[in-house]
């Protein structure tokens, strides 16, 4: 008798080509839409309404620190002042000095956080924005390793200085 031999070892194969097509299309889509952008962060600033008197129910902060930033006519840093003390005009060296000063006032150098302090920034009209970001950052805190230590949260701008030449 002839024994019919079944082909038991044949594998059932899935049709892969359609899936691979789709997968490649997805891959190309994600590769084309990829934009490598550095993540952005932001600094909140307190902006009390211009000429309005300070609110009655809230006592003003006991210590109001002033940071004045003078600019050259081309907008670069001319001099950075903490109170009335000049901190130089190197970038970013003078902002590091400002950061150290703030650290001593706000946290006693221990990396603390002061809620009762407020910094008022007084920039010249034509000062470039990058210096103001550095100044805000120097007042806000510093990075120790991967950890952010906050010194002062309340940062505000002084009223606008008149633009040079008008």
């Amino acid at each position: 008798m002839k024994i019919r031999r079944h082909e038991t070892d044949s594998k059932i194969e899935m049709q892969m080509s359609a899936m691979i097509d789709i997968v490649f299309q997805l891959l190309i889509f994600f590769m084309l839409t990829l934009k490598i952008i550095a993540p952005e962060g932001d600094f909140n600033i307190n902006m009390p309404l211009g000429a309005v008197a300070p609110s009655d129910d809230q006592p003003p902060p006991p210590l109001d620190l002033k940071v004045k930033i003078e600019a050259n006519p081309d907008g670069s840093l001319k001099q950075l002042y903490f109170g009335s003390r000049g901190l130089g005009n190197e970038f970013p060296g003078s902002f590091d000095r400002l950061n150290n000063e703030i650290a001593q006032v706000a946290g006693g150098g221990q990396g603390g956080f002061s809620d009762d302090l407020e910094v008022e920034l007084i920039p010249d009209y034509n000062l470039h924005y990058r210096y103001i970001v550095k100044a805000i950052s120097a007042c806000r805190g510093r990075m120790i390793g991967d950890r952010q230590v906050t010194y002062i949260e309340k940062i505000k701008f002084a009223p606008i200085q008149a633009p040079p030449g008008g």
């Binding site: 892969m16 899936m19 691979i20 997968v23 490649f24 997805l26 891959l27 994600f30 590769m31 839409t33 990829l34 934009k35 490598i36 952008i37 550095a38 993540p39 952005e40 962060g41 932001d42 600094f43 909140n44 600033i45 902006m47 309404l49 211009g50 907008g75 970013p92 920039p123 010249d124 009209y125 034509n126 000062l127 470039h128 924005y129 990058r130 210096y131 103001i132 970001v133 550095k134 805000i136 950052s137 806000r140 805190g141 510093r142 990075m143 952010q148 701008f157 606008i160 200085q161 633009p163």
Partner: protein, 160 residues
């Protein structure tokens, strides 16, 4: 005589490792892709700072103002004045007040005055924009009714 019937064998490459790799690549690109920065304008060269960290929770609503200069391909300024980029339009900072007022009005109608006032105005400015103009924009924002403001910076160290 018995004729051996050979099966027509098709040489098939093993696709499994390739598919594995492809899936890994897809997963990588999906994770790295960032679809959130829709309001960022590439003409604005933000300054960088190490304390600038993305907020932990994204804001529900914000008004983003991109302020920068018109530059040519080499990055040279074509016009010394700073402009607010509003889609394809470029508007001088001094002339932006009506737009801000309209923005506030729309928010007020959508979500009520309380919510509109609580909306953060986020300023993305080029590193060379005069600070006085940023202050002017903030003042305009206050005059039309906004209360919260934030300044943007790129995360990382400044190279210059």
């Amino acid at each position: 005589m018995k004729i051996k019937h050979s099966k027509a064998a098709v040489a098939e490459a093993d696709m499994t490792p390739m598919i594995d790799m492809t899936f890994q690549l897809i997963a990588f690109f999906m994770i790295v892709s960032n679809f959130e920065q829709t309001q960022a304008d590439e003409r604005v060269k933000l300054p960088a700072d190490q304390l600038a960290r993305p907020p932990l929770a994204p804001r529900e609503k914000e008004v983003v103002l991109n302020i920068g200069f018109l530059r040519n391909d080499k990055g040279v300024k074509l016009n010394p004045d700073a402009f607010v980029f509003y889609g394809d339009e470029t508007i001088r900072v001094q002339d932006y007040r009506p737009r801000l007022a309209r923005e506030f009005e729309i928010l007020k109608r959508q979500a009520g005055e309380e919510k509109a006032r609580e909306t953060t105005v986020t300023i993305r400015a080029d590193g060379d924009v005069p600070t006085g103009q940023i202050q002017e924009l903030i003042k305009m924002g206050q005059e039309v009714g906004f209360l919260k403001f934030a300044l943007k910076a790129k995360a990382g160290e400044d190279e210059g």
